[in-house]
Amino acid sequence: MADQTMTVPQDREALDRVVIRFAGDSGDGMQLVGSRFTAASALFGNDLATLPNFPAEIRAPQGTLPGVSSFQVHIADWDILTPGDNPDVLVAMNPAALKANIGDLRGGGLLLVNTDSFEERNFAKAGYDTDPLEDGSLEGYHVLKAPMEELTKLAVADTGVKGRATLRSKNFFALGLVSWMFNRPTQPVIDWVERKFGPDEPVAKANIAAFRAGYNFGITTEEFHHTYEIEPATLPPGTYTNVTGNQALAWGFIAGAQSVKLPLFYGSYPITPASSILEELARHKNFGVRTFQAEDEIAAIGIALGAAFAGHLGVTGTSGPGVALKGETIALAFQTEIPLIIVNVQRAGPSTGMPTKVEQADLLQALYGRHGEAPLPVVSVTSPSDAFDTAIEACRIAVKYMTPVVLLSDGYIANSSEPWALPDVEALPDHSIPFATSSNTDNGFLPYLRDPETLRRPWAIPGTPGLEHRVGGLEHEAETGNVSYDPRNHEAMTIVREEKLRRIALDIAPAEVHNGDGADMVVVGWGSTFGAIRAGVNNAARGGVMAAHIHLRHLNPLPPNLGELLAAYDKVLVPELNRGQLTKMLRAEYLVDAIPYPKIQGLPFKAAEIAAKIVELAE
């Protein structure tokens, strides 16, 4: 979409899309103004996608490169799929923010700087030898300057906020200015500030004053005479909210628990980028949600498993390093056939890696990160709002088949947001299956007597008279569940546990092909790369290069129709934020010469990268 960008500005220009990035020091409140701008745009009716970018876990000194925090938002009057590859507009609150982000600003893009922070001291911190505003290095961009700190100080003068605190509102000044440039409604921001801080609080007054000052600065300043229009998007009819991936996932588990009619029990140990799931769920005790901050990841899954044994919907969430610790207990849940959901919000590894960065390199761990033959269902999240549906699907499979399920999300989905057409949650599907309450044979209860269709074993929970039984991690006899070392029994049990996956395969949505006709290449992806791949495929198509797109939610079992679909194409391209893990799976499963397109930089794919790769491969 890089082609349809802004040309040299004239008054009141209509745009179909724009990508804006707010960048500043982690102390400058960029995430806040970014999300406010997003909310206003959402209420205004634009389609949008956002991408926050935090500094690494530790706080870095003010004004330095590692301290830079940014928030990118893509707004448009049509259905968009990604937060945008390169910003059209960059707001830089200090030299470090400029240095860290200018490289991404598209040529001819709009650069808005807070001149007050462009001084020697900060140049040094950012590693500039000369003043970038003066040394001509910014030619090729359209630079707009505002002394934001100065003007903010003036604006908040009589709000009661004093001293250094006055500067805190400068992010609202920037927000006001950008809101004016893009004709955003001001009321949503003002309402939010008053709700958040209380209408009469000095800080509320100061932020609103700074916001208004920025807006008015735009109106009054010669340099800023130019503004832009972006019409509301014609999204499918419905009520929308703007949701992040971890939020949608947390809500999805609340919904999933309702759909299986079980109380939700979330056992976890904080870890970036999964912590906010625990934090979100902890706020909803009135839904009957139990959250347990355990002493470590092994305890977290053990506690969730114990809760599941007692009849709750056990969920445990973490990131890759945590999953590496849970393997033994996952195998126990598998062997005892107790429903349990293991969430992995993937981050860049290996080891501690780059905790705040995105990666998809835990797929094979999800499949094989255990001892013995322990195949598990694995589902993945394709976008922030999709997390809601995927959570419900994981709950359905876990309970219907009495099995642990691995749900893969990642740090990009976790923190970025998109508009979400709210589902009718009054009409949630009923995936519940009653607990066993009486013996399943005339001579007593057999805890491993299976449903012939699903191979599910009955779930009898403690407190059920007459169904007392023991489960365990040792191999056990079919039906009775008594410990058994019989060679044939072990083989039979291994195969029946494996067969469950084949039954599940018949019970999941088949893979779907987008843009299939006329293409002799198919691009296969999974997880958070959905938006970039879909946009890339569409871009290539616009350029006349046709490639089909298949995006997988279910990674184990794979949809039964996948092999057949792939067979229809000469080339199979598999873009992944790893070194080719799904690629390996497809090659082993279907003996197709799947071509990996690995990216492992801690960053999501850009639509342009996908498009370019498709074109390259088509030649």
Binding site: T234, K285, A310, R470, L474
Partner: protein
């Protein structure tokens, strides 16, 4: 607990599984003691859950006709925490060994204790790894020669009672497999304690560590070495009760009653909120080698974890009303399209 007390026989708590410990193992005695106790308790048998890790001791749940999970090594306290927190109406037992609880499972143990989760932890301490055929354990004495310490262990052992007290345990006791009346009494008290109850049971492994507790079980030695802790009574022991325990500014010390007089003896009170005294008593012996306290060291009331969580849920519902999903997903603000 149920309103209509059911009466049981021991046999009601015997599963159909053949008990498979070595002939002569102390585990048999403890199993009988517990099954008899369960039959006496006023709890429906389906309300009991036995969770264990791995080890000889950990086989226990297979033999008890209630709900049970034979889980993985060291994790029973965590899994039991989940069971007890999910459903506070259950009576949750953890059966574990000195390796299972104190070696690989040490972290889960101390956290379950500090959180005061309502679980009853029975630690069968045989001072050896039985199931894996005789390596030293975290309670084996320094210098112990085993397959993995052929020239003698150099690891200082834990004193399980001291460790539990250091971890804020609200109920801490010790008993002996062979003393069935005493162990029944102690385990019953553990059952009656709402919160985490930690019971160390000296258990003889006659195959890999026979007679480890002879000082407390031997016909002759036992009188001399068992220091019974009884609430409200001065602590006396010895063949002719000639010894006693005094509590001073240097901790607990063993004294001759003749020297100091009855009045100088420490009167045992497991209910003092402060664990220092219980801790001092736990230091009277580093292990079952000489005079060793048996009984309840500490027993104090404190909210149980599952109950507190339950309350937070009820409070939240009282405050905000039962959760409404439709409202929740709208809570961040919405707009309409089309």
């Amino acid at each position: 607990m149920t309103d209509t007390p059911t009466r049981y026989e021991r046999s009601d708590f015997q599963s159909d599984q053949e008990v498979r410990w070595c002939p002569g193992c102390g585990d048999y005695t403890i199993l009988a003691t517990v099954q008899n106790l369960l039959a006496e308790l006023d709890v429906d048998k389906d309300k009991h859950v036995f969770v264990s890790g791995i080890g000889c001791a950990a086989r226990f749940p297979y033999y008890v006709e209630t709900y049970g999970m034979h889980s993985i090594h060291g994790r029973a306290p965590a899994i039991a925490t989940g069971v007890a927190t999910a459903n506070p109406d259950l009576t949750v037992w953890v059966v574990t060994g000195d390796g299972d609880a104190l070696s690989i499972g040490g972290n889960h143990l101390i956290h379950a204790l500090r959180r005061n989760v309502n679980i009853k932890i029975l630690l069968f301490n045989n001072q050896i790894y039985g199931l894996t055929k005789g390596q030293y354990s975290p309670t084996s004495e320094v210098g112990k020669r085993t397959k993995t310490s052929p020239t003698g262990s150099i690891d200082n052992p834990f004193n399980p009672v001291s460790l539990a007290l250091g971890a804020e345990a609200t109920f801490v006791a010790r008993t002996i497999d062979m003393d069935r009346t005493h162990s029944a009494e102690i385990i019953r008290a553990a059952y009656e304690h709402r919160g985490a109850a930690f019971v160390e049971i000296y258990q003889n492994c006659n195959v890999f560590n026979d007679k480890a507790f002879i000082a407390l079980t031997g016909r002759t030695e036992r009188e001399e070495n068992r220091i019974y802790l009884e609430a409200g009574r001065p602590i006396r022991f010895g063949a002719d009760n000639e010894y006693g325990v005094a509590m001073g500014s240097r901790g607990a010390t063993i004294v001759k009653v003749a020297d100091v007089g009855e009045a100088a003896l420490h009167v045992h009170d497991p209910e003092v909120p402060e664990p220092s005294v219980a801790f001092a008593l736990s230091r009277l012996s580093a292990g079952p080698y000489g005079p060793t306290p048996i009984g309840i060291f500490r027993q104090v009331e404190h909210g149980a974890y599952g109950d507190l969580m339950q309350r937070q849920l009820l409070d939240a519902q009282a405050r905000k009303g039962p959760g409404n999903l439709a409202d929740l997903i709208r809570s961040a603000g919405t707009w309409d399209a089309g």
